[in-house]
Assembly symmetry: C2
C-alpha cells in the first residue's frame, strides 16, 4: 500500500477570487500584515502495490486526466509510506 | 515576509463524499488499485514580519477562527521562507 499526497495549486497569474475573499475576511477579523492568500486543493490517495515508480506514473496520469486542470493549475506529488 | 502553507484535512471518520466521488471517477477512468481518496484544502498565506513564532501563532488563530472547522477538520502549518 502506497500513500500519496497530491497538492493542486493555481498557476501564478491566474485570478483566485476565493483567496481574495479569505484575505478580506482575515483583515475583517483583525489579522494585520496578511499579504496574498491563494487557495488550492489536496488529495490523499491510497494505491495498492509497492512500486513507487509505477505509483508516481499512475498519480501523474490521474492528475493530468482528472484531478488538476493543467491549463490553470500546477500539481505536485509527494509519496508517503 | 514569511510564506506559510496551511493544509486542512478532514478528521478520520468524517464522511468525505467528494473523495468517494473521486475514487469512483478514477475507477471509471480505468485506474486500478485505487484505495481511499480524501480531499482537503491548502492555503498559501504571505505574512509581513520576520518572526516565525509570531507568524505561527497568528496562523493558528486564523485556522481556528476562519480557515478550518476544527470540529471535523485537522490543520497543519508549514512555514516557508
Amino acid at each position: 500500500m502506497i500513500k500519496a499526497r497530491i497538492t493542486v495549486t493555481l498557476k501564478n497569474g491566474v485570478l483566485d477570487p476565493q483567496g481574495k475573499a479569505i484575505e478580506g475576511a482575515l483583515g475583517a477579523l483583525g489579522f494585520e500584515g496578511v499579504g496574498h492568500v491563494r487557495q488550492g486543493k489536496v488529495f490523499d490517495v491510497e494505491l495498492e502495490g509497492s512500486d513507487p515508480a509505477k505509483a508516481e506514473a499512475d498519480l501523474k496520469a490521474m492528475c493530468d486526466k482528472l484531478l488538476a486542470n493543467t491549463v490553470i493549475e500546477n500539481y505536485s506529488i509527494a509519496l508517503g509510506s
